[in-house]
Subunit: 173 residues, 2 copies
DNA sequence: CCATATTTTCAATAAATACTGAAAAATCAA
DNA sequence: TTGATTTTTCAGTATTTATTGAAAATATGG
């Protein structure tokens, strides 16, 4: 019979590997998603070398992706007294994770779209032709909708976990 | 002075090109996003050859991406009487576009995540060690949250545009 | 200041993804 | 059934993105 320790290792490895594969779908690179998965399921903070060993990746790769995760706010640098090396630990609260990802996606996906739509709408304002009017109208429709989504994203992200859950439950029960 | 027709062409080209660039961020390939942008801002349905000419892409590329957009439901095939070729036209309603994209993202991003989380949680159920319990707990937390997001996505997608807007407005005003 | 540990950078390379173009298959009208 | 038109497929190629590994830069303790 397999020991609990071995089973846990298997489960964690599966999680890390598959979360990494999912990362691609999310527009996050595989290694970044794997490191995040690893740290989310590790109690003690890890060093760069431990991450390298665990995922069998190069130092450069580990370093770049750790820094990127820190920049997102999904992991933190931990300093241990008497230790020269840096340690990394993940934010584990799901609502925090969600709001961080939502904020990042808004920045990358929603805001640039708004900029484009606004510019295209402005440049075609007051056009006389049927074609021009139709284009302008379509740009405005998209702009309104994306702008609305942007505001919704802000509102939801700024809520506390409990409140959001409560609200949603009431709404849809 | 530039004619309105010329200005419109410039605006549309900018939209197509930049919407395509945005597509990458969204996990949609550039050409697919460009074709979608082109058809969203064109009144009359276009043939494969017109799309090829407009975007300066190969037949294979145009064909594949048109079919993919049809599979998503973002564009439709139109048959004109007396015409042997197929024409394509885009869904222009923003709420429709949103629900289609939301459904597709749920399928690609949320459902596979749920499967992974559920399996990892099940495989570590009842573990005795501190580490095992912590892992199991983290998987459950993530599973609950993602499951909740999945339900929310369904509910919102099934609403009519007006209703969703009204609801959201009331909520956040 | 020196020796050593650690972090950071980045050119070269590998891997993944998208695109082309031409051939094959399917469709249609006569 | 034939020949012309249109759609579909896909091997080869190009482009983009991710990763390596080693050198350079930085930080630390003595």
């Amino acid at each position: 019979m397999e020991s609990e320790v071995a089973k846990l290792k298997t489960a964690r490895d599966a999680f890390v590997s598959q979360w990494g594969a999912l990362g691609s779908q999310w527009g996050i690179n595989r290694t970044m998603a794997q490191i995040h998965a690893l740290l989310m399921t590790t109690n003690d903070p890890l060093t760069t070398d431990e991450v390298m060993d665990e995922l069998e990746i190069s130092r450069g790769n580990a370093h770049m992706n750790l820094k990127e995760l820190v920049a997102w706010g999904l992991i933190r640098v931990v300093v241990k007294k008497g230790e020269r090396r840096e340690f990394f630990e993940a934010e584990k609260d799901v609502w925090q994770i969600f709001t961080i990802v939502a904020r990042e996606r808004k920045k990358r996906e929603i805001e640039p779209a708004l900029t484009i739509l606004n510019r295209c709408a402005e440049e075609t304002r007051g056009m006389q032709s049927q074609e021009g009017k139709a284009f302008h109208h379509q740009m405005r429709e998209l702009e309104d909708f994306v702008g609305f989504a942007s505001k919704m994203s802000d509102k939801v992200s700024s809520m506390k976990h409990g409140l959001a859950l409560q609200l949603a439950t009431k709404l849809f029960s």
